[in-house]
């Protein structure tokens, strides 16, 4: 073993990270070589000095401050809602597509009926109006110059069996693919923005007052920059009440189930349509 090889091994030797045979070889070289002996002594002294260096004093009340900060930090942490909101948006999209399909007489299906069930937590009249701004963070998420009307409102129209929005088929298709892109492309921010914009608008329209327990354990605060009515960036910071959190969560789950079941529901739809045809013809 030459000096270079020995010195390369001094550091792991000090850490006990060399095998027994290799360590013995290094030690043998160091014992015979004055230069390496000095090198080893310096390195050992350095390591000893570092290991003996006093630890910085922990600031008083460190842990308590961390714990006290947890609730407010959960604002960010509860952005875990975002994937749920993303799911909800995806499910809403499916609802839109299905409800649009349902307008075609030969495609009316049980799917539509399912989608038209009352949204969980949404009471009569508190549904989002049509004029809320499209809450999409990335402008590119709605390609092809889709109409500026509310996607959330339109989507919910599918759920609440409201009148279909008067949009051109082509525009609807491109907006749908835009939304699909948002969710499939892992852009939950835009979807979350939609959900927040919806809740924000519901409050402005006389919904429940802002929670007074903002920042407590039971409140999830989320913030998103969304596109305003004229496309300008608008920041929405909402502290969701537990009920609202439940609403978003349940909504997301129920609607996500629609996505998961889409294939089988559509198959069921075709089956039902075919099965009812003879009955219809008999009536005639």
């Amino acid at each position: 073993m030459n000096c270079t090889e020995a010195r390369e091994r001094l550091s792991p030797l000090l850490d006990g990270e060399l095998g027994a045979a290799e360590a013995a070889e290094v030690r043998a070289h160091v014992a015979e070589c004055e230069g390496c002996r000095e090198h080893h002594a310096e390195l050992a002294a350095l390591v000893s000095t570092l290991r003996g260096a006093p630890s910085p004093a922990l600031p008083e009340g460190f842990a308590a401050e961390v714990l006290a900060a947890l609730p407010s930090r959960r604002r960010g942490g509860l952005l875990r809602l975002v994937p749920l909101a993303g799911l909800a948006a995806a499910a809403l999209l499916v609802a839109v597509v299905l409800s649009h399909r349902s307008r075609s007489p030969d495609a009316r299906s049980p799917v539509t009926e399912t989608a038209r069930g009352p949204a969980p937590g949404a009471s009569e009249g508190d549904g989002p109006p049509r004029d809320i701004p499209f809450a999409s963070a990335p402008a590119a998420s709605v390609p092809d110059g889709a109409p500026a009307e509310s996607v959330v409102g339109d989507s919910r129209a599918g759920l609440t069996a409201g009148a279909p929005a008067p949009v051109a088929e082509e525009a609807r298709a491109s907006r749908s693919s835009g939304l699909r892109y948002i969710v499939a492309g892992g852009q939950p921010d835009a979807a979350a923005g939609m959900i927040l914009a919806e809740i924000d608008h519901r409050r402005r329209r006389g919904g429940p007052p802002p929670p007074s327990d903002a920042g407590t354990d039971d409140t999830a605060c989320v913030e998103r920059v969304v596109a305003g009515a004229y496309g300008e960036p608008r920041s929405i910071l909402l502290c969701l009440t537990p009920d609202e959190v439940r609403y978003v969560t349940e909504m997301a789950r129920r609607l996500a189930a629609l996505i998961a079941l889409q294939e089988s529901l559509e198959a069921n739809c075709r089956e039902v349509v075919q099965a009812t045809y003879p009955w219809v013809s008999q009536k005639k």
């Binding site: 050992a44 002294a45 000095t49 630890s55 842990a63 930090r73």
Partner: protein
Amino acid sequence: MSESDEELVRRSRRGDREAFGELVVRYENRIHATVFRILGNRDDAREFAQDTFLRAFDRLSTFRDGARFSTWLYTIALNVTRSELRRRKARRDRRPLSLEQTEIDPPDGAEAPEEGAGRRELAALALRELDRLDTEAREVVVLRDLEDLSYEEIAGVLGCPPGTVKSRLFRAREELRARLAPLLVNRPRGVDR
């Protein structure tokens, strides 16, 4: 018998703040010291060490069962410090060149204590030199020599093979040794273990 980290993590995931508090108390010294040393012994280490725990709490759902909580926590701490150091660097890069030069000046020989300086002074100098290492080198030295993590644990924290830890540590220590050599020769020998 105290609860294992794994059990405390499980309880924390269920929203048990007390359990998370226990984890904070268990690791606060180590995380604070790590952040403090990597950020260059500054007072704002408190803020970033606390941020480490808060991020950990936020991301408990991503903690992989079977992983070591301490390793995971150190990884978060390093991510926090790296972000901060990048931010500082960006800020510093905008400063006039003369200031930058002042900052990276090697230690002035005149500042060195007399031979036979006390262990405390030598430790202070070693820590100052540690602060002058690049981030990658500083991280391995802090994790190994100040936090006493094994090569394997460090590899887990840094997400690299143990061989990389070994070579980084070798280079970092050599750099420190070269800078401090005149002061180290009279230090007690025989740390070899």
